[in-house]
Amino acid sequence: MANNKQTDVIFGLYNDEEDLLRAVKAAKNDHLDIYDVYSPFPVHGLDPLLELEESRLHQAGFIYGAIGTLTAFLGMSWIFTKDWPNIFGGKPYWSVPAFIPITFEMTVLFSAIGMTVTFYIINGLGPGVVNTYLDDRITDDKFCIAFDKSAVSAERAESFFKSTGASEVNSKTI
């Protein structure tokens, strides 16, 4: 995860997501504190094992969307009743049905942009970000469990990786 301080990690690579899930379960039973898990695709069933809370990104999306709704609707209302009242085709100044399409589009636009930007910011990702990658094959076909060496001793981690069938064990500072 995104933090600026350096962490010494020891990590094991697994060849299959089911080996990974079994290993994460074993780590939980052994009360080993997992630093992070990396995989080439989202592995379902991993979040509850890692006790990851459900993402609140969609709640943020709702708020951004609501801001969009208000911006569009109040903006158009103000413009057509106060700033530039005009009669178009004999309709009232404040012709609400005609405002609905733009209000809808702006809701979607604000929500989508807001959520996407939030997603990259909270993940610490963005153009120009250079992270230390544990292994080049994690985006290919390896599934990785990493322990922080200050929380789990190297010997303990190594025996854990051996017993859970990791194909490789390495250390790195990230």
């Binding site: 089911e18 990396y38 695709f41 999306g61 903006g75 399409p101 809808f104 959520m115 993940n123 076909d141």
Partner: protein, 473 residues
């Protein structure tokens, strides 16, 4: 993951792939030197695009007078092409968003390319209304911003302005959705690359690590963007249809337009996806990822939406007669038997008759026929827009102002030029990014790979249900 998989589902990934082979197959087209076919295609596309740019500059330099529009037919080839391209742009979001919500796994084989196609098609579409304004350098007047022209704002009651909002939102959201899906795959390209290429792809991948929390948020974001895009995609063509439906022109002033336009858009979009994907899968050797199952599924969508379009045509005709309103009746009489009868019957044949071939399973699975019909459908959908726009305007209320229209070379050049733009962008895309979503295909391997399901499954690894099913086969 022992997700329950129906034994009736056919494999979507063939060739007994491993995760590594998937990476290898899907990333390598971006790493190899371009093939001869690609180079020829690219040179041709750029040449056509250059001519298109020349015609656009000509239009801006000389003015809209270089087009054959007249006072009666003031929308024609330009708006036809605009609506046609926008329609084509509908399949990408439909595949990536609606099929995601419906948990249709076959979307993973084609979503990436279809989304790219959406973006390029919307770019081509947006071009037409912009140059049709005549003074493109004043295009920013359509955006509402505090200005020194009095307080002067665009007309928020106008469907044309709704269109501006709908299309720019659609383009933006499609771009965000597409790029967010690409980020993990760019990371895969990065981790296979060296030197400068690695740096470039690191920038493109935004420093993606594949951390569990990132994946969780990524899935959450994809799902909500899909949820937002679904009503968005329906709204875009609905609003495009409002451009016509809110007018008082007979033949345009109908409440059936929004659903009819949306169905037509999906219809033409899927046809274009098929045209492109049949070529792409062959040239990039992606037959294991874009299988006959994918093609058949898309043909089913074409059959459904084509039939909806057919029903809409007939409903329109019936209502024109049933309304008892002579102008409406004349508009339809004129479409079918007036000077542009050939475009009406072209439309009827291409859009109503041709998709009906797909009732037959073996024809849905026939690649040559599918390719041919996908082009027929696109021609038909172009005719549909031409019929609605130009032929309707050609015979308005006042016989003294009746007119005829044929495009000038500049208009033809711009239309042909948009193909150049579309294919140039698509060909660059296939060189830069994986055409099939790598991470998403890996995620469905164990539920859709041919070694796990289907007749040739060799191991039921990870599927408790599998052994039971294979016994009953």
């Amino acid at each position: 993951m022992s997700a329950v998989v129906s034994p009736l589902r056919r494999p979507l990934i063939t060739g007994n792939k491993t995760y590594h082979q998937i990476t290898e197959d899907l990333i390598s087209p971006t790493e190899k030197t371009p093939t001869k076919a690609w180079v020829i295609g690219f040179v041709l596309s750029v040449a056509v695009l250059t001519f298109g740019i020349f015609c656009i500059i000509w239009t801006i330099w000389v003015g809209i007078g270089s087009w054959n529009l007249n006072r009666t037919i003031n929308w024609s080839w330009d708006i036809t092409n605009f609506v046609w391209w926008i329609g084509i742009g509908h399949a990408g979001t439909l595949i990536s968003a609606i099929l995601l919500l419906f948990r249709q796994k076959w979307r993973t084989g084609v979503n990436r390319a279809a989304e790219a196609m959406t973006i390029f098609a919307v770019m081509c579409a947006g071009l037409f209304p912009l140059i049709h304004m005549g003074r493109i350098w004043l295009a920013m007047f359509i955006m509402p911003y505090p200005n020194t022209r009095g307080p002067l704002w665009p007309n928020f009651n106008s469907p044309l302005l709704w269109d501006v909002f709908a299309i720019s939102t659609y383009l933006t959201v499609s771009l965000l959705f597409w790029y967010t899906g690409l980020v993990p795959d760019f990371a895969t390209v990065r981790d296979r690359a060296k030197g400068l290429r690695k740096k470039i792809y690191n920038t493109l991948s935004f420093g993606w690590t594949g951390s569990a929390k990132h994946w969780q948020r990524w899935e959450s974001l994809s799902l909500v963007l899909a949820g937002l895009s679904t009503p968005l995609v329906l709204s875009v063509h609905t609003i495009v249809s409002f451009d016509f439906a809110t007018s008082v022109i007979p033949g345009w002033h109908t409440t059936i337009f929004p659903p009819y336009f949306v169905a037509g858009a999906i219809f033409s979009g899927f046809a274009m996806v098929l045209t492109l994907m049949i070529i792409t899968r062959k040239l990039l050797k992606l037959e294991d990822y874009i299988t006959i199952e994918h093609i058949e599924s898309m043909n089913k969508v074409i059959l459904l939406t084509g039939t909806i379009v057919g029903v809409a045509y007939l409903t329109e005709l019936f209502i024109a007669w049933y309304s008892g309103y002579v102008y409406e009746q004349f508009a339809f009489f004129n479409r079918a038997l007036g000077p542009y009868w050939w475009s009406y019957f072209g439309m009827m044949f291409c859009n109503v008759v041709s998709p009906q071939f797909f009732w037959k399973k073996s024809w849905r699975r026939n690649i040559t026929l599918t390719f041919f019909l996908s082009i027929v459908v696109n021609i038909g959908m172009w005719f549909e827009r031409f019929v609605i726009i130009a032929t309707t305007l050609a015979r308005d209320y006042l016989p003294s102002s009746w007119s005829l229209y044929s495009p000038s070379w500049v208009e033809i050049g711009i239309y042909v030029g948009t193909f150049g733009l579309f294919f140039t962008a698509f060909l660059i895309f296939v060189r830069v990014a994986p055409v099939v979503a790598v991470a998403e295909v890996k995620a469905i391997l164990k539920s859709s790979g041919d070694q796990y399901i289907g007749d040739n499954a060799t191991h039921g690894h990870g599927h408790k249900h599998h052994s039971e099913h294979s016994d009953t086969h």
